[in-house]
């Protein structure tokens, strides 16, 4: 059966006429993607809130595209009337990442911006929020960046309890010793 995207098409048209320079895509049922340059993010959010009935801001997340030297910020909006998720995606450069402050549109963006500033080091000039959010006294590069080597940091800062250096998979040995049978589905998770 052919799926019809009537309300998604409608939203698509509305956004197409309102903004130039944006790439639109209907990802799946009830999900519309907008790829926009970073100057257009605030106007799109405002337009969606005022004209399209997007009352609710769901999430702001960040993706580290280290290969392209870019961060991607994803603003996820939700409209209770049309029940369509609107994803506004924008890319900013990885060196000196600066994004426009949008917490005047939805106040809850403030919290997400604090998190992203701490975890990715993206700066949002002009917004008011405590510097420390989850971490305390963090001196390394922001930990969710992909060039932050977690294992390295862990082996430097914390000690490992001796005795498990070999990190063997003892599941099978224990099973053999006690005559237990490992179920088939569990075998494919074996480390060997």
């Amino acid at each position: 059966m052919e799926t019809t995207f009537i309300k998604e098409e409608l939203l698509f048209r509305q956004l197409e006429t309102a903004f130039e320079n944006v790439v639109l895509e209907i990802a799946r049922k009830e999900a519309v993607l907008v790829y926009a340059p970073k100057e257009l993010v605030a106007p799109i959010l405002l337009y969606a809130k005022e004209k399209l009935g997007y009352k609710s801001f769901s999430h702001l997340s960040c993706v580290d595209w280290i290969e392209n030297d870019e961060f991607e910020l994803v603003y996820i909006l939700w409209s209770p009337e049309t029940k369509i998720n609107l994803f506004v995606k924008t890319r900013i450069e990885r060196e000196n990442p600066i994004m426009e402050n949008t917490d005047t549109i939805w106040r809850q963006i403030n919290t997400y911006q604090r998190e992203i500033r701490e975890m990715f080091g993206v700066e949002f000039p002009g917004f008011i929020g405590e510097k420390e959010f989850i971490l305390e006294d963090w001196e390394e590069i922001p930990p969710m960046r992909r060039d932050f080597d977690t294992l390295d940091y862990v082996s430097e800062t914390f000690d490992e309890r001796p005795g498990r250096e070999d990190k063997q998979d003892v599941r099978e040995r224990i099973a053999n010793r006690s005559g237990e049978e490992i179920p088939d589905f569990a075998k494919k998770y074996s480390r060997e």
Partner: protein, 181 residues
């Protein structure tokens, strides 16, 4: 007469007997293990028959139960809480995360060995330990107390420098305050 060995033994016995049968427990429930404690304390497993009951504040508590993983941020609070408790005090590390980091073995923000930062008397392993194991842990602690071997607090006092050094290695920029404990 007062230095009579027998008399002292009797006093020690009474002390240890009451201590082991009356454990006021402060559950530091930031990890996922906190959810096992309601089951342990209520009708089905009923830890109160062993004399274990909840204490509301660290000042009243004898037993600090660290349920699950500790991030470096909560470690600060745990150290403060531990130092506010009154002697004699005991610590139970609860779950694999307190023993060797458990599933957070490569997490940048979770400590791996709890006994490097505060002295731990009993570990309960498992992820998660079921209420039966928690009760077994209480029993083990009671055995240690009655034998006079649960001396974590003395260990902490005597080796304070070593503990402080480890704590400072993880908690940077923390002005360590001396409390009146």
């Amino acid at each position: 007469m007062y230095n009579d060995n027998n008399a002292q033994t009797i006093v020690e016995y009474i002390k240890n007997f009451t201590r082991k049968n009356s454990l006021f427990m402060l559950a530091y429930g930031t990890g996922c293990g906190a959810i096992e404690l309601p089951a342990t304390l209520t009708s089905r497993y009923d830890a109160e028959r062993l004399g274990v009951r909840g204490a509301a504040t660290p000042r009243q508590a004898d037993l600090l139960l660290i349920t699950g993983y500790l991030s470096t941020k909560t470690l600060k609070r745990v150290i403060r809480v531990y130092e506010q408790m009154q002697d004699p005090k005991y610590v139970i590390g609860f779950g694999s995360c307190t023993i060797n980091g458990g599933m957070y073995w490569d997490s940048y923000n979770t400590i791996k060995m709890l006994d490097k930062y505060i002295p731990v008397d009993v570990y309960i392993n498992g992820c998660m330990p079921r209420p039966e194991s928690v009760i077994a842990g209480f029993k083990e602690l009671q055995r240690l107390i009655s034998e006079g071997k649960a001396d974590g607090a003395t260990k902490y006092k005597e080796n304070l420098d070593w503990y402080r050094e480890n704590q400072k290695k993880v908690l940077k920029n923390w002005p360590l305050v001396e409390y009146n404990w």
